[in-house]
Each structure stands twice: as C-alpha cells, then as structure tokens.
C-alpha cells in the first residue's frame, strides 16, 4: 500500500509515521504542505507536531495550506485519512471531523503511556483490534482535551463515531485514566462516513517492542485490511454530513 504522510513546517512526527509504515512493509512518502497534489496514495496520514508553530490555534493555519485542499478532495472521494495528535487538530479545524481540541484540563503537557478502550470495531481504523484488547499507546500533547457541544456528542454516540476512549489498564473509564479532561473520555473519533479518523495518542510511536510496545500496529493494520478488502471495516456508503462551520 502507498501512504502519503503530510509535512507542514514544524511537523515532528512525520518521519516516525514513515518509519512505522515502512516497518509494516508499506510505501510511505512525505508530501510538503505547499503541494497541490497528494500523488496517488491509498491513504493519507496527517502527522503530529506543531504545524505552523501552533500559531493562532493548533491546526488553524495548516488547514488552509494547499495540500489540505487536496486532502479535502481525497476525503470527499472516500479516501482513508488518519490524523494523529496535531493531525487530529488539523482535521477538526478543517471541518473533516466534528469538535475541537483544547488546552489540557490541568494545563500541563502530558508525555506518557495511556490505555485506550476501542469502542467501535467495525471501521477501517479498528477492524484488526481484538475485542478484549486494551491498547497501550503514548500521548504527547498540551492541547488534547476533546470538546464538542452536547448535540454533537449525542450524534457521535448515536452514529458510533467514537473509536477510542481513555481508560485504565483494565479497560475501565476512571477519571484518573483521562489524561486531559476530554469529554466522555474521547481519545479518537471518525466521521459519519467512516473514512476520516483522528486520535490524540501516537500509534506510530508504538509499532515495535524496542520502543515500549507495538499496539499501534493494530490501527495501521486495520487501515491496510480495509484497503485490501473494503468490506472489512464498514466503508459506509452514506452521504457525508454537511459542515456546520
């Protein structure tokens, strides 16, 4: 499979994403933010970092870069897009995912391992995750507190768009297991069509035991399985939701 990994000024997890995908035996190439075209990838990764120095708001400026217009089109055509950390923030700013990421509840930058409960296994991002598995993946962010209004949260729940919630090692949603104060413990979500997803944790940093764990592989392996067999992971053929921004 061919992955396009975006590169903005101050992206800093772009190389990690390329490394992880190559480790899994796939092609991954960087696409500079000024490019108007993604090439011809099977999927797009919007990586972590501090695009454009996090000026104004995290992801606010990256959203208007030329390459993001190509990503909008790629997503509208049904292509798989995964935003990690700053990439999640960019996708929310771009209106490709609902809600926003705000300052962590305790105002601190959290760099640590967290545990994730997978909520929906029938998506291109989760289909390879075993049902009882609690994922252990690192986070590294200062603005990862997921926020959306009550109506949006209700529709995320109703459409089963919540993919991962922060939990403890036993899979329980305790308050202390929520590192940033995210509403309803949300660590990652997808759009209604199931082809765009974002999460604050870093699966690309958890793809080899040498780095402390390989649970992140399951997320990329899910995407690869969905690309090979579109029935795998429910590519729902429903109209994309209208943007309210």
């Amino acid at each position: 499979m061919k992955f396009a990994v975006l590169q903005f000024p101050a992206s800093n997890c772009d190389q990690d994403a390329v490394h992880a995908l190559q480790l899994l035996g796939h092609h991954a190439g960087l696409v500079w933010h000024k490019e108007n075209s993604l090439g011809d990838p099977d999927a797009v990764i919007v990586p972590g970092g501090f695009s454009y120095g996090d000026y104004l708001r995290c992801g606010a400026i990256a959203r208007f870069s030329p390459v993001m217009q190509a990503v909008q089109q790629f997503a509208a055509d049904g292509g798989l897009v995964l935003g990690i950390c700053n990439g999640f923030q960019v996708l929310c700013e771009a209106g490709l995912l609902p809600g926003a990421l705000i300052r962590n509840r305790d105002l601190k930058f959290h760099c640590e391992q967290v545990f994730l409960q997978t909520v929906n296994f029938d998506t291109p991002f989760t289909n390879k995750i075993p049902r009882e598995k609690v994922l252990r993946v690192p986070i590294a962010h200062g603005e990862g507190c997921y926020f959306a209004d009550e109506a949006t949260l209700a529709s995320l729940e109703a459409n089963e768009q919540i993919l991962w919630r922060y939990c403890n090692a036993h899979g329980e949603l305790t308050e202390s297991a929520n590192p940033n104060g995210s509403l309803r413990h949300i660590a990652g979500i997808c759009n209604a069509r199931r082809n765009v997803a974002g999460l604050m944790p870093h699966p690309e940093r958890a793809c080899e035991e040498l780095l402390g764990g390989a649970d992140g592989r399951l997320i990329f392996e899910s995407m690869i399985a969905a690309l090979r067999h579109p029935a795998n992971g429910g590519m729902h053929l429903i109209a994309p939701p209208t943007l309210t921004r």
């Binding site: 926003a100 705000i102 509840r105 507190c145 926020f147 104060g181 921004r245």
Partner: protein, 80 residues
C-alpha cells in the same frame, strides 16, 4: 484605520487558564472576582481609505472562518 477582534472561550467550554488566573488573583488577595476568561486580542491595521462596511463584512467572514473557531470561541469585532 484599525480593527480589533476580541476572542473569548465560549461559556460552555472548560477554561482552565481562566480558572487558574482567577484562583491566583484570589490568593493574591483580590476580592470579588467571580470569573476570569482568557482569550485573544487581534489588532488589524487597515488602509486609511477602506470602506468601513466592506471591512466589517470581510473581517466578520475571516473571524468566523479562520481567526476564531466557532466550536469553542466567541468573538467581538470593533472598527475604529
């Protein structure tokens, strides 16, 4: 000609910065502070011959689309 845009977190959004500043004020002995909201302030210089109404419309659009995020923030636009 100058425009000012004041961006504040929406009331429903958790504002840990505001809460922290508020409690610091209390610790310093400033009484009667019932809330602090930390936002952003943008000062925008406009060409002197700019039509006020056109500028207002354009800046409202920019503030909604880019300068603020309506999911989490409110803004107020003033043109001097």
């Amino acid at each position: 000609m100058k425009a000012r845009i004041i961006i504040t977190p929406k009331k429903a959004v958790l504002d840990p910065q505001g809460k922290t500043v508020q409690s610091a004020l209390e610790h310093m002995g400033y009484r009667g502070v019932t809330g602090v909201h930390v936002g952003k302030y943008l000062e925008i210089d406009l060409a002197p011959d700019t039509d006020r109404e056109t500028a207002r419309q354009a800046l409202n659009e920019a503030a909604h689309k880019f300068l603020s995020n309506p999911v989490i923030e409110d803004y107020r636009l003033e043109i001097e």
